[in-house]
Amino acid sequence: MMSLVRRFVHGVSSLIRRNREEQELNDEVREYLEMAAERKMAAGSSPEEARRAARIELGSVAAIKDEVRNVGWESKLETLAQDVRFAVRTLWKFPGFTAVAVITLALGIGSTTAIFTVVNAVLWTPLAYPNAARLVRIVENVPAEESITGRAMRLPSMNPAEVTWWRQNARSLENIAVMMPDARTFMTRDGTVLLNGQRVSAALFPMRSVKPVLGRGLYSDEERPDAQVVVLGASTWQRYFESDPNVVNRTVVLDGQTYTIVGVMPPEFGEQAYWLPYVIEPPRTGAVQLVQVTCLLKQGISLASASAEVNALGRQLRGSIDAEPANPPRFEVTGEQDQMVAMVRPALRTLVVAVCVVLLIVCANIANLVLVRGAGRHREIGIRRALGASRGRVIRQLLTEGFVLSLAGGVLGTAMAYAGVSVLKAISVIDVPARYRNALGPLGTTILPRADEVAVDPHALAFAFGISVLTGVLFGVAPALRLSRADHRETIAGADLTTRTGPARGRNHVGQVLATAQIGLATTLLIASGLLLHSFLNLSTLFLGFDPNTQIFQLVNPREYSRSRKLEIAYSLSRQLKGLPGVESAGFINMPPLSPNGIRQNLYLPSEWESQRETLGDEYRASILSMSPGYLQATGVRLLEGRWLDERDTSGSARAMLVNRAWTERFSPQKSPIGTTVTFVTTGRIRRPLAWDVVGVVENVRARVDGGSQSGQTSTDLPLLVYTDLRQYLTVASGDRGIDGVGMELDMMMGEPGGLSFAIRARDPLTLSSLREVARQADAQIAIEGVTTMGEVFSGLIGRQRFYALVVGVFAAIAGFIASIGIYGVLAYAMTQRTSEFGIRLALGARPREVLGLVLGQGLVLVLCGILAGVAGAIALTRYLSTMLFGLTPLDPLTYAVVGVLFATVALAASYIPARRATKVDPAVALRSE
């Protein structure tokens, strides 16, 4: 221990007194030599001879001093510093090489780090709750034959009526808690807003064990209808209650009802605006409600045994399920985190593999580049070895150079990863108003679950550092070994390895194969990304039928308002909007474009077709929409013929209807449908044979954006539509009963549950505050939600496709760039090996163009082989992309051709640089160096 301390102190002090020690050592050695010489003189030699003999006896003074210096640990540090300084100087002398190497490394390390960061946060980091490992869900695997979509489904939700059953019977689970989305209006000083909260079981609070900011969570005896209590989210508390520390026991009015605040929960508990107790209610007819259920595995129970119990219980519950053991089991218990990330796990795994391949290619490339440069360094290294540097020392020096490069790449790469991760996070959540989220499929607005937890953290930084060091070793070792092997006697004598043709030429087979493989991989990736990009272009240039600049919002009424009151508010709001300066048109509709769900499809036939109704298939069904006058004008839908619906078409007047182009093409392709009488029928029997007069024809509008269909123009995308005036339709539908009576159909025509959707066409977009002001004048309790434009909604709905096109595109671009560097490296290496050959060729009269052709030809062979292999790979693999493509097949010839030609051009350009250098060989110089 003592000696360790002593060594440390010595080391530090000698680092500080380096100069003095150096001086002392010099003196000591000089004295030594003097003494030795004196002794020899005393033995009879001449002074000169004596000095010379003494020197020879002692050997290299420099080597001795080096040896002495190497005694302490601090010398290692010094050598390192020296090597690093030297490496930086050397690299600085070749800015082109260094820049290319650092950028390539940065791309490799950056993309690896970014993907690691994502995978680490999404897949590997446990959820931020203390009981994370025990948080589970009950899921139901619905087989294809019972599923409403016709495909097998994995449902993580259940019917509320079943929750009690699970609570009473499941012995391996505890704290079975229900969560259900909930939205309520809330009055603030700046107008009414819609808060998005949750109705939850009280069990959720102990289960997540997150400490409240204020007060408490919900209690289980509060799961009853008359318990008017609410827990606020911290964001609501900060935003609307100015973080008032005395907020507990104050009241808050949600949807017109008064609740007592019992606590405030931090964001770790959840991002919701509030939590109300969930009350299990008897199911209402016609309303299918599914709730999310989360529970805690009992201490010491395994997932498998819980699954077994749950499956047995589930079969009892369903009763009718056959006794055959199903695979997968009907009911399963699965980890909360698994459930959350299951959908993206395969995609992330693929990305990990892709990124590792990219990193390996990077290493191989840099190794090649270092070798290319090393060819010119044989002499330098030979001289250093002749001067007494050991092979280990040379290898260490070369490795240090590698580390300096890879660390520089690592720093730049980490910066790239940081930028990349923030871009990834920004585009990984689709931001569209709640109304349009139905169109997004099972993952909803999430492209990447847990994206908010993704961050470049210490783990990621450590990873980046580790990967940089690893990269440094990977690409540094091979060149270091090869270069240090150089025989210094030969090198110095001028018989440079590189000028020996013949055996040396065949030596880089590995490099050539590697370059071809890289080009192949890059081609496959580029084609995949080309397909995704092409598909995205198809999507984003789709015919929409409406003006993307149309400003839209949802009108949300407090839930207790009657239908007639809601209607009154909507019309008065519409009138006021029209009266605002700069507004050209404004109106509302029950189902806006791009919100496919809830559209009822029925037969609205020209009266003369009625007899054929039995034989008409789904493609003859049309959707009926109800709106206020001015809505279609505000949305920018074109009127093709006839007239718009207007104030004339109210409850008392003749029933008037607009049809769209698709309807006209189906039922009246030859003659104008204006004046046709349309009858509403259902297949089978006429339920309410009501006649409507067609008064106008309007352009189609897109109802849905569906990335899955290959044709891109199916009937549901541009459906048959008929438009009616809302008041007129309600009068017809409710008959004499008045519209405030019961009726799901009426609710639907009123746009419930989402509310009526407004559209405004104005010279300048209205501001949110002016919209709120107008809304307040119409009714103090209503909320204006989802203020945006139709274009924004569309852009949001194709966000998933944009995400994939972007991520895959970035990887493909990196791979393409790196592969081009690879081909450059291989050819440049070949170039250095054949310098004298080219010199001879040129000296013997070969024209530069021929030499250029020789090298380019070699490059062309590599590039073509690589691209062909890549195309074959793409043909084999891109069919897995088919579900993600829109409006093209995975074998789209245009994409293949464009990618192939573009990439071949880039790769050939990369081989042009060394080829051009070959023509610049000065025969005299090349030959003399032999």
Partner: protein, 116 residues
């Protein structure tokens, strides 16, 4: 780098012991140590500067010897080394170890087949 210069036939690690022993007799400068070892060993061991200097540095670092600058007999300034207390005890211990080991080795080498 040329191969490490070792004293002829000197068992690895024994050079340190020889230096300590030499210095135990009297303080000495580097060259003198080399000559003294050569003399005492009657020319068997020839210590070169190439191994002497690193060894001196190592011993000094470990606190077994201490260097100081002083005039020599013929009025030069040279770096002299002397044994520290720690060096003295190390020498004693190593000498004992060495004797034990050589005795053991000698016994093994002289062993007859009967003893084995």
């Amino acid at each position: 780098m040329s191969p490490k210069q070792k004293p002829t036939g000197l068992v690895q690690g024994t050079l340190d012991m020889l230096i300590l022993k030499t210095l135990a007799l009297q303080p000495m400068h580097g060259y003198g140590i080399g000559i003294r070892i050569e003399q005492i060993s009657q020319g068997v061991f020839c210590v070169n500067g190439g191994s002497l200097f690193p060894a001196l540095r190592r011993l000094e670092r470990d606190g077994l010897i201490k260097g100081y600058w002083e005039a020599t007999d013929n009025n030069r300034r040279a770096k002299w080394y002397e044994l520290t207390n720690q060096g003295r005890s190390t020498l004693k211990r190593e000498t004992k170890d060495w004797e034990m080991q050589t005795a053991a080795i000698a016994r093994i080498l002289q062993a007859t087949s009967g003893e084995l």
